[in-house]
Symmetry: C2
Subunit: 117 residues, 2 copies
DNA sequence: CCTAGAGTGCAACCAACGGTTGCATATCGA
DNA sequence: TCGATATGCAACCGTTGGTTGCACTCTAGG
């Protein structure tokens, strides 16, 4: 019943703003290297490299060495899975919020009924 | 067009696993204090207190002093807003994934057409 | 009133993480 | 071979989640 039935790794990987931007860029440009990506972001190549390492470790991207550079591409299936989990968390909270709202209304109705007697 | 058009504070507040559990507990039990909540979690009261402070600062919960204790309750509206933003991020990525998939299929079709000639 | 207990808040400290700089290494091109 | 480019590794810094320890406040009993 508890919400955190997620790959916590996956969530925390997507939880970082820079990593989200990175995924966004990779999707928009169809892949890239640490150098090319860092040129588009306000952080250094090293920071980007670290993030790509994290994303690679959880399987959201795949890095393939090609000559002297290393190209990274998004694993669409894995990202889709992450997005689905994101949605499921949202849905769980939505449900709980709805329940809380329902209870609150019930209490209100009960109170009204009691006052009018 | 870029995804991070979110209250980054709100996202990062919800981004922490412990804080998500905290919100979950607060919703389930209809509020609580740092002490009662910490009894349900594998962290100390101090850690819980800090998290409650963060959540309070971004408006996801409200703390009201009552005698010698301080009771916290979820701001359902604010949490609903956060959940909505969560959903919007998911939708944005979904859209992008769909586009990428479409492109990939186009390429595939082009390749097939070329090969059959 | 005084005292014991419960609940809180503040401060110092530690580990992990995002970020930076510096340097060494490997590859491409002339 | 030599210079330029791209990478990887390591040390260092600031922030943050977490802990422990202590002082303060409020409540309840004698």
């Amino acid at each position: 019943m508890s919400v955190p039935a997620i790959d916590d790794d996956l969530w925390s990987a997507v939880g970082d703003p820079t990593r989200r931007q990175l995924l966004d860029l990779l999707l928009a440009e169809g892949g890239g290297t640490a150098t090319t990506l860092s040129a588009r972001l306000p952080v250094t190549r090293q920071a980007v490299a670290k993030h790509l390492g994290v994303l690679d470790r959880v399987g959201l991207v795949h890095g393939t060495p090609s000559g002297r550079e290393r190209r990274y591409d998004v694993d669409a299936a894995q990202l889709a899975r992450a997005v689905a989990q994101l949605a499921s968390v949202g849905a769980a909270w939505d449900a709980r919020l709805a329940r809380v709202k329902g209870i609150a209304e019930t209490i209100q109705r009960t109170r009204d009924a009691g006052q009018e007697g």
